[in-house]
Amino acid sequence: MPDTGATELPFPANWHRRDLLELQCLRPDEIQTLLDTAQTLKDLTGGGRNKLSLLSGKTCANLFFENSTRTRSSFSLAAKRLGADTLEFSSAGSSVAKGETFVDTAKTIQAMGVDWVVTRHNTPGTPQLLARELDCSVLNAGDGAHEHPTQGLLDMLTIRQHRGGLEGLTVALVGDIAHSRTARSNLWGLKKMGAHVIVCGPPTLVSPRWAEIGFEVAHSLDEILPRCDVLNLLRIQFERQQARYFPSVHEYAALYAMNADRMRRAKQDILIMAPGPINRGVEITPEVADGPHSVILEQVTNGIAVRMAALWLLAGAADRQGSRHGESENPQTAPQAS
């Protein structure tokens, strides 16, 4: 693998963030910068054939309190392709199992001298708490049902590569919106970039309240299908469902699975996406998942690109700003009286 270490990349003037916690708080121009940078790095690394040394000497810690294979691997590869070292940490068998709080664990990892902590946790808001406690950069790799910003970005990058942009497109997120961090990151990201976003699924998984904040709510996939440019089929998260939100998988598949029959009623150039891992036969049938409209594997490739971009941008901001101490960023969360 040739090392094109001499590459110099101009640092975008509009980027000042040292953490990537959520897409809800990002401005459209910041999302644009992330996507542009991801595309640039994807091209520069030639899809993994070239390795850059933009981040050599830095260390990325993967601090995962929840099982993950693909996101963790993707972050590791992204760090390595830019020349950074990686440190793997998972909660099983660690001090977390011995009762240490996640903040203490993160501080321990930071004390080993890391530049980024990539974190996944089943409770919303844990990356925010870490960002308040740690000096290094924090990347959210999924916090409960809250957000999964790099997943949202890689989905947007994939759409953009096929359609040239996001503005004006109709994108439907189908399935378990209630428990999906992927859905929330996609919702905010797509909305900010000018797409029309539909959330579709049974009312037990798609709250009518989404309509109050600017998203179209639908319960029938068949009704919205002819209008959709992109379908993002969310995984039914069996492990997150403490209660039954629909009568059976069989009935769910009948209503929401993307199959050959539905493909015939969709737009000619519809893109079929899924954040994976996919449940074949539940939200998507094999012939659709493996068919010509499916961009599921491209999403995986783009995942590395957006994670490279995120690591590089956050490190650049941190290098330019120095220690967090003395910054006014310390989020004083004095409550607002109503």
């Binding site: 709080t101 925010q128 709250s207 409550p335 607002q336």
Partner: protein
């Protein structure tokens, strides 16, 4: 904020535990006593632990009488709390009877009812006796025990209610757990009619609230946090008030937090059903948007609701549909609250901020006058629990709070006397502060500017 009078306040080390009762004259203060409808400058004379006279003649004032100059201050009956978790025995890392007593005094409370979030639970006369003895030793605030309604708080069969009452329990409840067994609640309401014993229910249907962390609404939807739906409270309140009506039993529901609860309580009260209700101060001034910080100090129960609920609760306090404001003091240790939002327990130390919260967000905001505020914080809860206090009528206990209504201060939970340092109003500037708390004629708390502030004196 910059130009306001913000005194740098310092608390005198609390070394008053042994202070002797003496005759006490509180002069020049604005007496606010809802029980007598008094709101005027008056002198209060306390002799032998009891209120001897309002505006006594000079010749009736004993010569060795201690005088407190309450110029510019409010003098009111000491506050009464309908439900404080003491956590002792079993959870002394969260709070002890002694630390809660100190916290209560600093907050202007002279009487508190304590609920049984302890191990063992207070479901036997011996357990009631244990709490009473510990409280007597603390020799601070008056502690009234709320016994368990069901054995082991299991919601299966009645505890020995008469024996609990004989041992000194002033009410029974499974709080902080809700009473989930409808049949048991109905039978208990029937049974307690004979004992004239108050039942307190903390209304919630567990199946609807399961694993909830915050108010179920737009904010929880966006944050991806599991919600506590208002229906979980509404359904429990509906059942509670209906059973109270059916049995004519004496029932208190609270703390409540929803429009639905207020609506149902208002309706049964119009039919003169003997139901009373209470609310926590933070539910009157904060809403669910506070959780956008993901800070566990806003994880309280009942949860901070949306602004519509907050407004409805304020209106209900103003019009008396909600009778009482209770601190909602649910102390939990720092290490427990340090966890992420799912793992951190519900709870906050609010005894020391309740009065100032009400003063700031209701009185200063012109929603409530002082007379009504003191009624909701003192007179009404004393009446509901049938405990002495809540009044400064002649012959009543010399339980007094003196408040400086113009003093502004910034909450610093690390300075709390409570073991718990989590409070949803931490770092917020509040108006009005307790300067003296007098129990049975003895000054048990005094706020003194100029002395180094020592935490947990």
């Amino acid at each position: 904020m910059a130009n306001r009078k913000t005194l740098k306040l310092h608390l005198k080390p609390l070394n008053l535990r042994g202070s002797t009762m003496s005759d006490l004259l509180i002069e020049n203060g604005r007496l606010v006593d809802p029980s007598q409808g008094i709101d005027r400058i008056a002198r209060v004379l306390i002799r032998e632990g009891l209120v001897a006279a309002i505006d006594p003649n000079d010749e009736d004032i004993p010569p060795q009488c201690t005088c407190i100059d309450a110029s510019g201050k409010i003098v009111a009956p000491g506050l009464v709390d309908l439900g404080v978790e003491l956590r002792e025995p079993g959870f002394e890392e969260d709070e002890t009877i002694l630390s809660a007593s100190d916290a209560a005094l600093a907050g202007g409370y002279t009487s508190i009812l304590c609920t049984a979030s302890t191990t063992p639970v207070v479901d036997s006369p011996g357990a009631v006796e244990y709490v009473r003895q510990k409280a007597a030793k603390a020799n601070g605030v008056r502690v009234y025990v709320v016994g368990c309604l069901s054995r082991q708080q299991e919601g299966d069969q009645m505890a020995e209610l008469r024996l609990l009452a004989d041992a000194g329990a002033v009410a029974v409840s499974d709080a902080p757990r809700p009473m989930c067994n409808d049949a048991l609640l109905k039978r208990s309401l029937d049974y307690c009619r004979m004992l004239k014993l108050l039942i307190i229910d903390r209304p919630e249907v567990p199946e609807l609230a399961e694993n909830g962390v915050m108010h179920d609404g737009q904010v929880s939807l966006v944050l991806g946090l599991k919600g506590l739906p208002t229906e979980a409270e509404d359904l429990a309140v509906a059942r509670d008030v209906r059973l109270a009506e059916a049995t004519d039993g004496r029932l208190h529901v609270g703390p409540v937090s929803t429009m639905g609860a207020v609506d149902m309580i208002r309706r049964v009260k119009s039919r003169e059903i003997p139901v009373s209700a209470s609310v926590c101060p933070h539910n009157l001034c904060l809403n669910d948007k506070a959780l956008e910080s993901f800070d566990s100090r806003f994880k309280v129960h009942p949860p901070l609701r949306s602004p519509r609920h907050v407004e409805t609760l304020i209106e209900a306090v103003v019009d008396g549909t909600i009778d009482a404001i209770q601190s909602g003091h649910m102390p939990r240790s720092r290490e427990k609250k340090m966890n992420d939002l799912n793992l951190a327990p519900f709870g906050a130390a609010t005894l020391e901020t309740t009065l100032s919260t009400v003063a700031t967000f209701l009185v200063d905001a012109n929603r409530l006058d002082w007379l009504t505020a003191i009624d909701r914080l003192s007179t009404a809860p004393a009446r509901i629990a049938s405990v002495p206090g809540g009044t400064l009528a002649e012959g009543s206990p010399g339980d007094v709070v003196i408040i400086d209504p113009d003093l502004t201060w910034v909450v610093d939970a690390h300075q709390f006397r409570s073991h718990c340092i989590s409070n949803p109003l931490d770092a917020v500037e509040l108006k009005a502060r307790v300067t003296h708390t007098i129990v049975g004629g003895a000054v048990r708390f005094e706020l003194t500017p100029g002395v180094n502030m020592l935490a947990n004196a």
